[in-house]
Symmetry: C2
């Protein structure tokens, strides 16, 4: 049922989505992952109609920090009346949520055209940071986005946390694709999460593959070990 | 195309959803509105599959304040690196977003069963506040919810703002229904917002009606004028 990591790398590098199942002992959910740079209103519609979870923008924690972002948990801890609401979810680690944004040119923020615009423009900001143009990236981010909006930004802590946020960033690094992704949980029709078997059908419909989180982690760690030596 | 406000009141009082179009000069969008107390996993699935917007919990700003909540804009203004991201959206007024929560008993937070649980339990907290048991409500809220999560809380400022958040709260007050609602934008198939004509078909499918924001405001203001004398 699960494809090799190489198959996933090939798809992501070609601008296609990939499906990732995390771990039995974690969420036990499949997310669909797209490179953010090329996201279209049609992709947004597919995610809301077929996947059904939250449509989130993913980047690395370090890139978020450059832009002045931080984890929502750390923001809430600074507000007296809300700090007690920060708790660990049942699957263990602190969520990757930062803040929710819209690009200033959206109509209302929620439409497919709007969310695609917000996400593509966020990917542009990440690109500037990657190119080392951090001051310009920061100014452009502050000028062209507002919060709260309709697209959650997730900040991944690769090597510390093993959620879909981090799995998608590991795959992006392996594929040499920008650390700017879109992820959305696949809920299917059961009122729980869609099973890997259900998701396999969706993957086939999209001409893509379903990967296993543990395979990505293994592949990534081997790659990093080789890279370090 | 638009039904009378009385028809909407009747539906909401019977625990049914109602569709509300705001105003041509505002978002120009239709939201589906449910009483939160009776929300089911099936309703959540309907919203994500057919409506497609954000599935939000709505209550009054004053009730949020009792629970220690505030608008997200006011939270972000307290964080130096994020305060410049607070801007007015193109349709004019500051968004109603507060924070995003999960009930502590959810599995991952996003599943239909999870979001229905979070929303029904939030409605219970609102009920406690309405009954004057504010201290108990506050303790129970802090103990049983965590943030960030998957359900945005919107705090409506009735009389000051005229978004779907406030329109749904006005209708709830007219229907003598608890100020605890779920709203979700209807996006349809066009990649923009669904038109009122498209939404009318959805309303008919659900055995409910489509109301016009301006009719709700007019009816509500007449009701308040009578009530005040």
């Amino acid at each position: 049922m699960f494809a090799t990591v190489e198959e996933g790398i090939k798809r992501l590098r070609a601008g296609k989505p990939v499906l990732i199942y995390d771990f039995d002992e974690r969420e036990g959910e499949v997310d669909i992952v797209y490179p953010a740079e090329v996201i279209t209103p049609q992709d947004i519609a597919f995610m809301r109609q077929i996947a059904g979870g939250l449509i989130c923008f993913v980047t690395r924690y370090e890139i978020g920090r450059v832009l002045g972002l931080d984890l929502q948990t750390r923001i809430l801890r600074k507000i007296d009346s809300l700090s007690s609401l920060v708790k660990r979810p049942s699957y263990g680690d602190e969520p990757a949520f930062s803040i929710w944004v819209n690009h200033v040119k959206v109509k209302t923020g929620i439409r497919d055209t709007d969310r695609a615009l917000t996400i593509r423009e966020l990917a542009e900001i990440v690109k500037l940071v990657q190119e080392g143009r951090t001051e310009y990236a920061k100014v452009k981010f502050i000028e062209n986005f507002y919060s709260p909006g309709h697209v959650p930004i997730l900040l991944g802590r690769v090597g510390e946390r093993y959620g879909h946020t981090e799995l998608s960033l590991m795959l992006a690094e392996l594929a040499n694709v920008s650390p700017a992704l879109v992820i959305c949980e696949i809920l299917g029709t059961s009122h729980e999460a869609a099973t890997p078997a259900e998701c396999l059908k969706i993957a086939e419909k999209l001409g893509t593959v379903l990967l296993r989180g543990s395979d990505i982690v293994k592949y990534y760690e081997e790659y990093r070990a080789r890279y370090r030596t």
